[in-house]
Amino acid sequence: MDVFSFLYLIPLIPFAGFAINGLLRNYLSKSGAAFIGSAAVFISFMLSVMVFVNVLKPEFQTQIIHYFDFLNFGNISIEFGFQIDQLTSIFLLIITGVGFLIHLYSAAYMHEETTASFARFFAYLNLFIFSMLLLVMGSNFLVMFMGWEGVGLCSYLLIGFWFKDPENNKAANKAFIMNRIGDVGFLLAMFWIMAQFGTLSYDTLFNGDNAALLQQTADTTFLIGVTLLLLIGATGKSAQIPLYTWLPDAMAGPTPVSALIHAATMVTAGIYMIARSNLLFAMTPFTLTVIAVIGIATALLAALIALKQNDIKKVLAYSTVSQLGYMFLALGVGAFSAAVFHVMTHAFFKALLFLGAGSVIHAVGGEQDIMQMGGLGKKMKVTFSTFLIATIAIAGIPPFSGFFSKDEILLAAFNSNPVLFVLGVAGALLTAIYMFRLVALTFTGSYRGTYDKNKIHESPALITFPLIVLGILSLVGGWIGIPELFMKDGNRLEHFLDPIFAQAHKILPASHVAHQTEWMLMGVSTVLVIIASVWSYIFYKRSKEDKTGNKFALAMRNKFYVDELYDVIVVKPVMWISKIFELVVDRRVIDGFVNGVGKAVVYGSRQLRLLQSGQVGSYILLMVLGLMALFIIQMFL
């Protein structure tokens, strides 16, 4: 059975789940809704596994399945279709796999909701999975954009899930609006590509030696323009400087949402987009530099802020922004498969971290301030151990998964520019420090909070099972990318993704780092990270108070006042302009115009009424005058 003829089922079944849960939410039971939602994603996961098995076969060719045309005339054609290749299949597995685990988790985590609300949650989750699948499976930029918008919408719906609290609504608005700003860039890029080539399809643009893009005679305006616009779109979706401030605020949503959307999937859409258009970016070294700079800057900025945050989810949010910065850094130095690798490992350990945080929050009755926690490790062994595994992974300590992906990125960075390597290692150290700070303050020491200690217990199986699975993946997930340094024939992931990035690699300068240098770099960074981790753990295990001594620490605590800066630069002027428009343009000009038309009609009618004097004589006079006028006109025309 050829799974590719059933490809449409992969997004369709979650969509059906959304429809059922959404429409029947007042009639389903909680377990019913949870079952429908989870089963839908599970079926998609099974289908994705079948797709992956097919993709692994050596004779596999990229499959493009065309469903129907939106537009097809002249040399313009836009169609609706799916493209399955190695890149797509990896993302499919991540989305459906991690998504399924999070659905299971949500069934337990959201059990305090009313039944209708519970079903609504699962409906939104399924809609999100549907949109994300559309995004990665699309065969052209338009289908990707449809999914892109869809995930933005679902992000809004899910962040503002508890909509009775206005703060949540504000956070949801912020996320959606910032996404939208990025979308303008994406749209403009699509228009430009369309104008230049008449098609948005990946196959025509990027594939093989006849790729339309290669026919392009180094038109740098086009290349730089389009890539920068696409980058703006990616920074909006993947929370890079300057459009990252929505992500920490998005923590207002339920924790499974943070895990799914803001750790594992939606925020990786930008990475996917750039990886998909890698040929375009490889031809534009300028933009690649910009991407690398933005990436490392974001990585460092977010890491510094995370160091001084006290809300467990905010730390993880800034950690996500920081890790996304690393992925952007990888893209910027041309290491596309390293970026995808990091997407994968990050999905595992970040989802695990968020789910673990949710488990903790649940256990202490909704408290999110880590200064009010402590000593939870003894009571919540599974949560503690999996959280610890994820922390070791994110710090980048071998043999856990994060080490391999981060190391590959750092190596590529060194190859491009040693300064990037140094900054990258600095970021890795900060990551280790704030993550172990988080673990220590939450799980070790003694409990500092006010919740009844006897009520704190480990979470139910539906919560711990996903934690365990993700824990195993965080441990072994990196082994598909073991560099050639360690074993011959290693780095399976990079070879697997070779067909996607082949063209780009032909253009970009090849990497040429001697094995000894590689060992040394790896060794140095690993040792430093281990030292930092251990120091941080011990230091914060004993720490009792929360210090913000000097001004710099205060700035870190307050997110470097970036939100306030945006408020002054963007929000206030926009509100001011809008107020002017309301008072002047809307009230005086437009209302004046509309009311004026009304007034003119009344005035005119009053004047015309005077004609009807009732005097027969004047009627006859007017008749005669009219007749004369007709004759005269007839004579002259």
Binding site: R609, Q612, S613, G614, Q615, V616, G617, I620, L621, V624
Partner: protein, 109 residues
């Protein structure tokens, strides 16, 4: 006799008729002025008919005589119109005891 004299006469009569219709208040006088206009047109038609008959063979025959026949039609129409119009004035007089047209202003506004 040149045609232009007849033209001027007919024109003068017609204009007098119009002025009368527009200016006078007595509806019977207005009727007389309408008759005057019709007669001015009749005069014009006869004059042109005679002109065609005496002048040349280009137009000759049928055009000229149809002008005179048309005059008959106009007279018939005038007669019918007068009878109806006078009947209306009589009714009007019976209602308002006057023939002043300014009392017709019930159509006002």
């Amino acid at each position: 006799m040149e045609i232009k004299w007849y033209l001027f006469l007919a024109l003068a009569l017609f204009v007098l008729g119009i002025t009368g219709v527009l200016t006078r208040r007595n509806s019977i006088i207005i009727f007389m002025c309408i008759e005057l206009m019709l007669n001015a047109v009749n005069l014009l038609l006869i004059a042109f008919s005679k002109m065609h008959l005496t002048n040349a063979n280009a137009f000759s025959g049928s055009v000229a005589t149809s002008g005179q026949i048309f005059v008959f039609f106009i007279m018939i129409v005038a007669a019918a119109e007068v009878s109806v119009g006078l009947a209306i004035i009589v009714m009007y007089f019976r209602n308002t005891r006057s023939v002043d047209i300014n009392f017709l202003n019930r159509l006002k506004n």
